[in-house]
Amino acid sequence: QTPVKFSLDWKYEGPAAPFLIALDKGYFKDAGLDVTIDTAGGSLEPINRVASGTYDMGFGDINSLIKFVDANPTVPLKAVYMVYNKPAFSIVGRKSLGITAPKDLEGKKLGAPAPDGAWAQWKIFAAANGIDSTKVTVENVGFPVREPMLAAGDVDAITGFSFSSFINLKANGVPADDITVLLMADHGVDLYGNAIFVNPAFAEKNPEAVKGFLAAFNKALKETVADPAAAVEHVTAANPLVAKNVELERLQMAVDQNILTDEVKANGFGAIDSARLGAAIDQIGLTYEFKAKPAAEAVFDPSFLPSADDRKVM
């Protein structure tokens, strides 16, 4: 049994289902792995954790990973499995507060937690949609107060993951038809989303473990996509506080919008199109000054992926 310490990007909620299934159903164990899964407070945190070697593998935002690799070239972190083919980054606003389209943000208040993955792409979004960002008042709001503040009207829009913010807003009593979700990927931000990545030292020492992990995850992901309702049971088992119907809705949104995209339907789960990733790195360069712009191959290593057959969408 190879021990693997794995860091999620967030808490045990709907989208964590495939990881929990692989654990619960023993897919990891069958691959000879002893996996521990820990939660985190945002999709940046796992990057630091895996880079420091405290965790072997993690699940987080590839765009932040690219910046990290640029800032710390001594630790060549690599993504090995793309989960969110389209990122969940979005701007969520309320129609009643006058937000229906990107341009509406001008002259309004945008609430954004500093360590938020979506916030990190704000400049790209603004550039792609011709928003004069000097006209947008940005407020740093912590994760716990982000949606409540939008619900209370203290801010007009927030940055966040679509499935998180939408559902949290509903939980705060905002009617669904009042909520505007501007998925950045649908508004000119052509990036990849969250991926599984691995500590380079660990990958070199245990290539089979990485492969086994991905194979097990791949299997669980396919099951999740096939039957989200069954998958979400594993979430409620791990986290007694959550409500099943809420997490199912969340998971369903993630599957529909972020996981099961046209590209995935064509090429299968986990892989990337290196031309698209290259373009994404260029797009990051619009707002981030690279020390030495990495190539797509430097941040994504497909060599651990299961076979194309196994990854195919049924």
Binding site: K5, S7, K11, Y12, E13, D38, T39, A40, G41, E45, N48, R49, S52, T54, Y55, F143, P144, E147, P148, N168, A171, N172, G173, N239, P240, L241, V242, A243, V246
Partner: protein, 256 residues
């Protein structure tokens, strides 16, 4: 001074109940929405509904706190003795300790997580780091304020520095040490909860964070109340320990 002892004995209960009654009344009178400030009735409802996770997580937090606290007790006592025994070390370390104390421990937790991963270790360490300071300061102060006459009694007998430390220094510092435990355990508790809410899958801190993320505000408040109760109990335990171990200090009018 005219209050009868009976009234004083029951005062804590009366005030606590009074607080809850006023809170409930305010919530009802002003029709405050529950996600803003849930009335105690809802909070108690949440307590009943989620008693299992509340109890489980409280125990986790308790264990974490106690481990961190015990570490702090051990190292705090040693460092306090080392510092208090030399005025130079005392002068040199004191500002560093103050500076360290002025750093919010929330800011340190992510660093600890980088080093040790999430879970019990950073929580224990945070509890340790935060509760360490008052113990060191108190023990060092206890040593530094020994009456010169007590020392002279021993010096005149030709006692060595080590003898003086053992016979007078340490016993004399003990009431200060036990006095600091009340503060230290409360802080240790705060520390482990902070750390849990940043980096753990278990504990009351994590429970509250989860509840917050799920907008179960009454459960958040239930967590707060659980924290307060646990804090009071641990404080009382340390106060009892203090009384047991260094009753002579109170009885002889020394200390206070």
């Amino acid at each position: 001074m005219t209050a009868t002892p009976v009234l004083i004995r029951f005062a804590p209960w009366i005030f606590t109940v009074g607080l809850f009654v006023i809170w409930e009344a305010v919530c009802r009178l002003f029709a405050i929405p529950p996600f803003f400030l849930p009335p105690p009735s809802l909070v108690f409802g949440a307590m009943v509904q989620f008693w299992r996770p509340l109890v489980d997580n409280s125990l986790v937090t308790l264990v974490t706190t106690l481990i961190g606290f015990l570490l702090a007790v051990g190292f705090g006592l040693l460092l306090g003795l080392a510092i208090g025994a030399s005025r130079t070390v005392y002068a040199g370390v004191y500002p560093l300790m103050i500076g360290f104390n002025a750093i919010p421990k929330v800011a340190v937790v992510p660093i600890l997580v980088l080093w040790f991963g999430i879970g019990a270790v950073p929580a224990v360490l945070t509890a340790f780091l935060i509760s360490f300071f008052p113990i060191v300061v108190n023990v060092a102060t206890g040593l530094a304020t020994i009456e010169p006459e007590l020392e002279d009694v021993l010096k005149a007998l030709g006692a060595s520095k080590l003898d003086i430390m053992r016979k007078v220094g340490i016993p004399r510092a003990l009431p200060y040490f036990f006095g600091s435990l009340k503060i230290a355990i409360t802080l240790a508790f705060v520390g482990s909860v902070i750390s849990e809410s940043v980096a753990s899958n278990r504990g009351i801190g994590n429970l509250m964070l989860q509840a917050q993320a799920l907008f179960q505000v009454p459960l958040v408040f239930a967590g707060l109340i659980a924290l307060a109760v646990e804090g009071i109990v641990m404080y009382a335990a340390m106060a009892w320990l203090e009384k047991r171990t260094t009753g002579w200090a109170q009885r002889s009018g020394f200390g206070t």
